[in-house]
């Protein structure tokens, strides 16, 4: 069993590291700081159907995570089976701009209260206004990232709107990764 050291990593790095490791391993041991890192990783793993065994390790924790039978297996046809949400605008719907922005904010906030979170949220075009400075949903996106949702913004779009240095949630991605993610996803929801 491999051991991953996630001590001193800021959220959401611990969850993302464990998530990636679980794509390759059926079990692993991860070292975490006390507090949010341990709670977030534990919750994330349990939500994926994994068994989690927590042991205190000095002033931190050592979690042993074992994949359970309920862990989603890749669907037939080579897809990852993951749910991906594609956000191509900072508003939902074609009506009044104010209403559209409000609906999108509400949607992202409401996602926090659902149990079946997407694996990934991809932000394109004016969708990048939601992940950059001034966005009203940064707090919600940070919480979603802490729960294992990958937040990714298109680099070309960030550059177009001159927001490359204003990214506040998640990471930058490129069209190849976006295309591969959409083609391999089990389900894509486009907003």
């Amino acid at each position: 069993m491999i051991t991953i050291n996630c001590r001193n990593l800021a959220c959401p790095a611990p969850v993302i590291t464990v998530k990636k490791a679980l794509e390759e391993q059926t079990d692993l041991r991860v070292l975490l700081d006390d507090g949010a890192p341990r709670e977030n990783v534990s919750r994330f793993a349990r939500n994926r159907g994994c068994q989690v065994c927590e042991e205190q390790d000095g002033d931190g924790w050592a979690l042993t995570i074992t994949k359970g039978e309920q862990t989603p297996k890749p669907a037939a046809g080579g897809t990852s089976g993951e749910r991906v949400v594609l956000i191509t605008s900072d508003r939902l719907g074609d009506g009044p701009e104010e209403l559209g922005r409000l609906l999108m904010r509400n949607f992202i906030h409401t996602l926090l209260e659902t149990s079946d979170l997407p694996a990934r949220m991809l932000f394109l075009n004016t969708g990048v206004f939601l992940t950059t400075e001034g966005s009203e949903v940064l707090e919600a996106l940070e919480k979603l990232a802490g729960m294992g949702v990958e937040i990714l913004s298109c680099g070309l779009c960030l550059d177009f709107f001159k927001l490359k240095d204003k990214l506040k949630a998640g990471a930058t991605t490129n069209m190849l990764m976006i295309a591969e993610s959409l083609l391999s996803a089990g389900q894509t929801i486009r907003l």
């Binding site: 949010a36 409000l102 919480k143």
Partner: protein, 99 residues
Amino acid sequence: MEKRLMVQEGHVLAVFNSGHRVMKAEGILKALGLPVLLIPAPRQLQTDCGLALRFSEDVREEVMQALEREELLPAFVSTYRGGLFVTTWVNETDAPHIT
């Protein structure tokens, strides 16, 4: 309460009965530099429009004064304490929206 959710211990929610009023209130309070966030109203709070303004206790007085000045007082105000929403102010001039 789960740390992942948007309302935490000590947060104050101003709940409105109209989407237009809450959006107008948000604009005015933000222009005054007050740290408010417009969020869906939690299910436990009965609301007409399903929206609320969230802020912390330390700006409560300033927020309420601004809303009163602009004639945009909410339907009621609740504070999240110990896992429960405690209503701390009700707009007497409105028809009751909470039971």
